[in-house]
Symmetry: C2
Subunit: 273 residues, 2 copies
C-alpha cells in the first residue's frame, strides 16, 4: 500500500508500469495517466535519469503533448548535484503528474537516492501529485526495489538483489517485463526473504493504477501477477545455499488483467463485474 500521507490530505496515484507501454496505437496507459493528471490542464514533469539515451526525455515530451497536456518538461538530472537544483524542484512542485522513464534502475537509486529531488517526489505524492514510472521507473517506486537478478520460474537463493527505492509504497515489491523476461522465480525469492512484502509482477504494456484509497486497478494489455505470502507456512530460504531452489509452502498467487482490482492492505482481489 502507499506510504501514509498527512491526515486529511488526499495523496496522489502511484502508477508502476511494466515497461514497453503502447505509444502509437491504443495508448491506454499513458492516456489514463494524463486523464487523472487533469487532462488538457495537466503539467507533466519527466525524469529520464534511468536512460542513457539522449532523446528519451524529449520523446516523452512529444508524446504527452500529442496527448493534449498543457505542459510537458523533461528534467536534466544525470548527476547527484543536478538532483539538488532549485529550478528542477520548482518544476516538480508545479507538476500535476511526474513520469519516471525506463533504463537502468541503479542509475535512479544512486543518482536520486537521498537528494532533494527524491524527497520532493515523496512529499508531493503524499500531497496529491500523481507519480508514474515505467520499467526501471516502476522498480524504483517502492521502499524496497529489485536491483537485479536472474531469470527463471522457481525461486533460488541468491537469484535477486534488493536495495532501497523511493518509498512511495512500503509493502509492495515490483518486478517489470515480467512474463517477457521470465521473472516469477526472482519475485518469489524477494518475497521469501521477508514475507512482509507483497510481490507485483508487471507484464509489458500493463500498469497498476494504485488510487489514493489504496486500491490497485489493472490497466493495459498484459497481466499483473500478485505474489502474496500472508498465509505462508514455511520458507526454506535460511537453509538454502547459493543457487539452491527455495522451498515455499502456502504462497498465494493471483494473475489479474485489465479491469481487475486488488487491495494490498487486505489481500482482496476482484474481477470486473
Amino acid at each position: 500500500m502507499p506510504s501514509v500521507g498527512t491526515e486529511g490530505v488526499k495523496r496522489g496515484y502511484v502508477i508502476p508500469i511494466g515497461g514497453a507501454e503502447e505509444k502509437i496505437q491504443h495508448q491506454d496507459i499513458l492516456k489514463r495517466f494524463v486523464e487523472i493528471s487533469s487532462g488538457s490542464e495537466a503539467r507533466i514533469a519527466i525524469i529520464p535519469t534511468a536512460s542513457e539515451l539522449e532523446d528519451t526525455g524529449d520523446n516523452y515530451v512529444k508524446l504527452f503533448k500529442e496527448l493534449g497536456v498543457a505542459e510537458a518538461v523533461s528534467l536534466n538530472i544525470t548527476t547527484r548535484s543536478e538532483a539538488q537544483v532549485d529550478s528542477t524542484i520548482e518544476v516538480l512542485n508545479q507538476a500535476t503528474g511526474i513520469f519516471i522513464t525506463g533504463g537502468n534502475q541503479l542509475r535512479l537509486s544512486t543518482i536520486l537516492g537521498g537528494t532533494p529531488v527524491a524527497q520532493a517526489i515523496r512529499k508531493l505524492n503524499a500531497h496529491g501529485t500523481h507519480v508514474a514510472g515505467t520499467s526501471a521507473g516502476a522498480a524504483i517506486i517502492p521502499e524496497h526495489m529489485i536491483a537485479g537478478g536472474e531469470p527463471g520460474g522457481t525461486p533460488k537463493q541468491g537469484s535477486v538483489s534488493l536495495c532501497p527505492g523511493l518509498g512511495l509504497t512500503n509493502r509492495l515489491i515490483i518486478d517489470q517485463h515480467f512474463r517477457q523476461r521470465d521473472r516469477l522465480g526472482r519475485l518469489m525469492s524477494a518475497v521469501a526473504y521477508n514475507p512482509f512484502l507483497i510481490g507485483l509482477g508487471l507484464d509489458e504494456d500493463t500498469a497498476a493504477f494504485i488510487d489514493p484509497e489504496g486500491v490497485l486497478h489493472v490497466e493495459g494489455s498484459g497481466a499483473i501477477t500478485i505474489v502474496d505470502p500472508s498465509d505462508l507456512e514455511y520458507s526454506g530460504i535460511d537453509r538454502a545455499s547459493h543457487g539452491d531452489t527455495i522451498s515455499l509452502i502456502g504462497m498465494r498467487v493471483h494473475v489479474l488483467t485489465k479491469g481487475c482490482t486488488y487491495i494490498p492492505e487486505t489481500g482482496a482481489a476482484a474481477f470486473p463485474a
Copy 2:
C-alpha cells in the same frame, strides 16, 4: 533514525549490538540495557529465533537474572505459526525490554516477517519498549537489512545482498562483527546502492544506544564505523559489472568509540568532553 512514533508518546531505545558482547567480566552493554529497561523491575522478553542452538534463549534468561531483573522469559518462536500465538504476544506486551539474539538473520526475516510478533515489536518500540539485538538480532532492526555478502575492504558490485528488516529505524543499515570480519567494503556497497542510507558498522562487544530523541551513544569495547554518503558526489554502481570495484567520490566516514555520539538526522558526530 528511528521510525516516527505517535505524537506525544516517547518511543523506546533501539540498541543494535555488534555480536559477542561481553557476558562474564565487564558486561557494560547488557548492564546498560537492563538499567534503561527499569533495572530490578525490568521484564525482559528474549527472542532466540535466529539461533539453532537449543540453549541460546535459556542462557540469556540466566544472564539477565544474574543481572538482577525481575523477570526474563525466552519465547519459543521457530516457525511462522508460532509467531502468531497470543500468549507470546502477551509476554511482549508486558516486557520493558525485548532482546533479539544472534544466529542467522534470514531465520529472523523469514520466520518473523509480516507476522503479529513483528508488528508487536514495531508498535511496542514506538510506544516506549526498548529493543536490543545482537549480531543477527542487530541486522534485522532497520527497514533495510544486510542479508549476506562477502568480506573485504573495498566496495564491489554484487558483494552485498539486502532484504527488508523489522523497520525500527528507516535510514540506518547495520553490519556487525565489523572489524573482526572485514566488512567495510560490503557496507559501502550497501550505502552506494541508494545514498539515502547511512551505514553503521558495529565491532564485536560494541553497541549503538539510540535514544528516543534519535541520538546514538556508543557503548562497549570496540568502535562503530559510520558510513555517511550525504555529500556523495559520484557513485559508479550503475556502471560496475558483477565483481567490479565501485568507484565512490565524497563518502564521509567516522570511527566512534565509547562515549562518542552521532545524530543520524543531522550527521553530527561528537566525542566525549
